[in-house]
């Protein structure tokens, strides 16, 4: 131990490293939490900052250079370079706030456990590296903090799973005791709305409990069962989300569905699944254990899956939003579909039944309503009750809400939207509203994320659509800035109001309100938490 003190600058380097570790931990632990503790996500995010944020890469390079200089230099006074490296590392990624403003670090027990391991790992490696590399050691450890955070996540993953077992076991006991029928819903998007609609349609006929908003994995659903599944519950509506293939199969063993439904197969979560075929396979796992399946057959892939389920002897309730389709539930979105306005839609529940009026705001919305009606029909809710209850479906917060700003401009808040199809649709609606009002169209968006291999292309397409619609684009932050601006430039005419890059949403909001005047329409499409560049 004493020997360490003879390394030049050893004590100040260690002390400085301890201080620098605080903001570094705050940043990477927050990223880990925001990215659902998935090992690898922290390094991915660090790399995204290096690529997108112009100062992060160079500062990291200088810090790395200083570390190398300190480690390799024959002159002991050059060890002071390690101190420089530590200070620079504490500032990385350049521009990522230490404390999140949009989403703060939540001190859950899980985070505290991770933080303890994080600290032990960094401290142990830091001391070890101090012996091997001298003062450059602690600097190197801090520089590699993002991968080390992922290492901590990888170590904790099996431990967390084991620790959470008692909640899962308790949920299994409760489920066996209460014995509700389980309705499982999955889909690339729209599953939360659909779940809420199903709960609403069923609750007049059955004692129904729905899993809360984002409790859609093993632990979340277990918690929903433990907290909400009261004795006497007849139907449990479970939203099942996925991070990868096999996950829904596992969820279905814990929460075996009687009725399983898929809303849409789309491109959400492509980052982890790489292709829509993988997504299709992963989502259709939901039907494996169900005796009744509800499928929208306007998608030919799901139509094929419906046929497969029929040959497996399952009861299949087919759903369509194309009038005239041979399906059990057919929703006719009416002429106005696709507009932001409510169409004169109608729905036929059960073959040969009378059409009932229903309010839908868009085609995407229509699929959710139709699937929900199909589930209620499958569960045995009388058709008249379904039709009556379709009249007052609960709204979903933050999804395409239209409000009037004090300035007079219309504001469409679609900030929770993260899928390419929905974004284009929202843009279409906003553009027609703007045309109707004779005011400018202003779009504020950071683009869409988690789209893996197609992310650049989809954001380009979205930018191009904004350009084609003659909208003013505020591209927020850096993650998708390039793709959005390039797309915009590819279609915008000389009359187009232009595309402007802004650093934060707050700045964009101020300028958007100015630009929209009193007749304009402002579309807020998606929102990125501030751990993204």
């Amino acid at each position: 131990m004493i020997a360490v003190l003879f390394i030049p600058f050893a004590l100040p380097a260690m002390l400085l490293a301890l201080v620098a570790a605080v903001p570094i931990a705050a940043r990477w632990l927050r990223v880990a939490q925001r990215e659902h503790y998935v090992p690898g996500s922290t390094t991915f995010m660090a790399w995204l900052w290096v690529r997108r944020e112009p100062l992060t890469g160079p500062v990291a390079l200088v810090a790395a250079g200083a570390t190398v200089a300190a480690a390799l230099s024959p002159y002991s006074w050059l060890q002071v370079m390690a101190l420089v490296a530590i200070v620079l590392t504490a500032l990385l990624p350049w521009g990522m706030p230490v404390r999140g403003t949009s989403k703060k670090l939540a001190f859950t027990p899980r985070l505290v456990r991770l933080a303890v391991l994080w600290a032990v790992l960094h401290l142990a490696l830091g001391i070890l590296a101090l012996f091997v590399l001298g003062t450059a050691g602690p600097a190197l450890v801090l520089l590699l903090s993002a991968p080390l955070t992922d290492l901590a996540l990888a170590i904790m993953a099996p431990i967390e799973k084991a620790a959470s077992r008692r909640f899962v076991v308790a949920a299994q006991k409760r489920l066996a005791q209460v014995r509700p029928r389980v309705v499982a819903i999955t889909g690339s998007y729209g599953k939360t709305s659909t779940k809420n609609y199903v709960a609403h349609l069923l609750s007049g006929t059955f004692a129904t409990v729905a899993s809360p908003a984002s409790f859609n994995n093993r632990l979340g659903l277990s918690r929903a069962v433990n907290d909400k599944l009261v004795p006497g519950t007849e139907v449990f509506v479970a939203e099942m989300g996925i991070f990868g293939p096999g996950e829904i199969r596992e969820l279905s063993t814990y929460f075996p569905p009687e009725i399983a439904a898929i809303t849409v197969i789309g491109e959400a979560h492509l980052q982890r699944m790489r292709s829509t075929d993988v997504i299709l396979r992963a989502k259709t796992e939901i039907t494996e254990r169900a005796s009744t399946v509800v499928l929208p057959i306007d998608d030919p892939r799901l139509a094929r899956h419906a046929e497969l389920c029929t040959t497996q002897g399952k009861r299949v309730i087919t759903v369509s939003c194309v009038p005239g389709t041979d399906a059990d539930v057919v929703l006719d979105p009416g002429a106005a579909a696709g507009d932001a306005a409510v169409g004169a839609a109608s729905i036929v529940i059960g073959r040969g039944a009378e059409p009932a009026p229903v309010a839908v705001s868009s085609t995407g919305h229509a699929v959710n309503v139709a699937v929900a009606a199909g589930i209620a029909y499958a569960a045995g809710v009388p058709v008249a009750v379904i039709a009556a209850r379709l009249g007052d479906l609960p709204g979903s917060q933050h999804r395409a809400e239209v409000q009037q700003a004090p300035s007079g401009a219309l504001v469409i808040d679609d900030t929770y939207n993260a899928n390419p199809v929905g974004s284009l649709r929202a843009l279409e609606g906003a553009a027609s509203l703007a045309a109707e009002r004779g005011g400018p169209l202003v779009v504020v968006t950071p683009g869409m994320v988690e789209l893996g291999p197609v992310q650049v292309e989809r954001n380009r397409t979205f930018g191009a659509a904004i350009g084609a619609a003659g909208g003013l684009l505020f591209a927020v932050a850096r993650t998708n800035r390039g793709a959005l601006l390039a797309g915009y430039a590819s279609t915008a005419t000389s009359e187009a109001p232009g595309a402007i890059a802004v650093a934060t949403r707050e700045q964009a909001v101020r300028r958007a309100v100015e630009a929209a005047g009193d007749r304009g329409v402002i579309l807020y499409e998606n929102d990125l938490p501030d751990h993204y560049p």
């Binding site: 409760r174 006929t205 433990n226 009261v230 004795p231 006497g232 009750v385």
Partner: protein, 382 residues
């Protein structure tokens, strides 16, 4: 103060009226605490778990289940019965003088909680299992009124076998369940049957009454300790929503958000502006209901008045009424006195039924071997 252990206030419980029960419980807790009493607030979660919750919680603390800082309780009916607080090693008994039950609807008001607390050996307000059960069964209560000769509207079970003896339109009500939840109007017997078959609240049993929208709701409360006392009449006011029924929403949610929510601030005319004869008749009916139901504690009786004829009908009884009907007692007694008297009644004037003795063992001795009792039970011979 004479009492040696704190009072318990028990609220929540497995019932559709769970949330309103929380409001009643928190209100009662505050009233007793403000009067200088020691109170143990106990929350019976919808999942069935019991918790001791911190003092002075707010309604919003219960949005996600038991509030933070709650301790799980164990409820033992055998082996030193009582309520226990779980500790790291073993459990510690929670000493309770008597429990104020604020459990509206469901098993709580229907006598279930009374049975549980009698098994626990903890005196509790509200009535006995038997009195509570009749109060919660609208068909049984209607029959009781009829048998006692107390005026009430005809009330019959929705049956798939026989039709009601009176013509529609009908009010269809859940047979079990104490509030306005699940009440519907049906034009004829077929509609009533369809409702009874599909509605979640009616499937477990439904009754019909003649639908008479002209009748006016009147409420009155009585308590039985230190002696029978009856409140002035209250006329709950229907909203302008155009609804024909005094709905759950009007009854409980009309007060809006915050501390105003709940029965205490629902729109009402109090005391009700009715002829003296009606007021006197209402008191008389309340007294008769008290006698024939053997309900104790603080009880609200819901009446219907035909303003044209001055005729009064007993509609139903609430053995654990919303807000414990404290708002009806304002002209007569402070809330704390009403609650304290109910607790004292529970502690000092217990209703004890003849308990299981062994009958001196006569039946057991005379029984012989159990094998002899199995003879001939094998079902019909082939």
């Amino acid at each position: 103060m004479a009492s040696t252990a704190p009072w318990a206030v028990v609220f929540g419980g497995p019932s559709p009226e769970h949330e309103i029960s929380i409001l009643t419980g928190l209100q009662a807790e505050r009233v007793l605490t403000a009067a200088g009493h020691d109170v143990v607030p106990i929350y019976w979660a919808p999942t069935g778990d019991w918790f001791r919750v911190p003092a002075a919680t707010e309604a919003k603390d219960y949005l996600e289940g038991a509030p933070s800082g709650s301790t799980p309780l164990e409820v033992r009916v055998s082996g030193e019965p009582g309520i226990y607080r779980r500790k790291t090693f073993g459990a510690e008994r929670v000493e309770i003088e008597a429990a104020l039950l604020c459990l509206h609807g469901g098993a709580g008001e229907g006598g279930g909680a009374a049975a549980v607390f009698s098994l626990l050996g903890i005196p509790a307000t509200g009535s006995t299992l038997f009195a509570g059960a009749v109060g919660m069964d609208k068909l049984a209560f209607g029959g009781l009124m009829q048998a006692a000769g107390i005026p009430s509207l005809p009330r019959e079970a929705v049956s798939t076998i026989v039709e009601p003896t009176f013509a529609g339109p009908y009010i269809v009500k859940p047979r079990f369940g104490g509030s306005s939840i699940g009440i519907e109007i049906a034009d004829g017997v077929d509609a009533a049957r369809a409702l009874a078959a599909t509605s979640i609240h009616l499937r477990t049993g439904a009754v019909v009454e003649p639908y008479r929208p002209e009748l006016v709701d009147l409420n009155i409360a009585f308590r039985t300790f230190p002696s029978l006392e009856i409140t002035p009449l209250e006329k709950p006011l229907r909203g302008d929503s155009g609804s024909a029924l005094y709905s759950y929403a009007e009854k409980y949610l009309a007060g809006g958000a915050g501390t105003d929510a709940g029965l205490t601030s629902a729109p009402r005319e109090f005391p009700a502006q009715v002829p003296d004869a009606v007021a006197a008749r209402a008191r008389e009916l309340a007294e008769r209901v008290a006698e024939v139901t053997r309900l104790t504690g603080i009880v609200r009786v819901d009446l219907l008045l035909d303003e044209a004829t001055g005729e009064l009908f007993v509609n139903e009884v609430n053995s654990i009424p919303g807000a414990l009907s404290l708002y009806l007692w304002v002209p007569l007694q402070p809330a704390a006195t009403v609650l304290l008297d109910a607790l004292t009644e529970a502690r000092d004037r217990r209703v004890v039924f003849p308990q299981a003795g062994f009958g001196g063992g006569a039946a057991l001795r005379a029984a012989g071997g159990i094998a002899g009792k199995l003879v001939g039970l094998d079902g019909p011979r082939a």
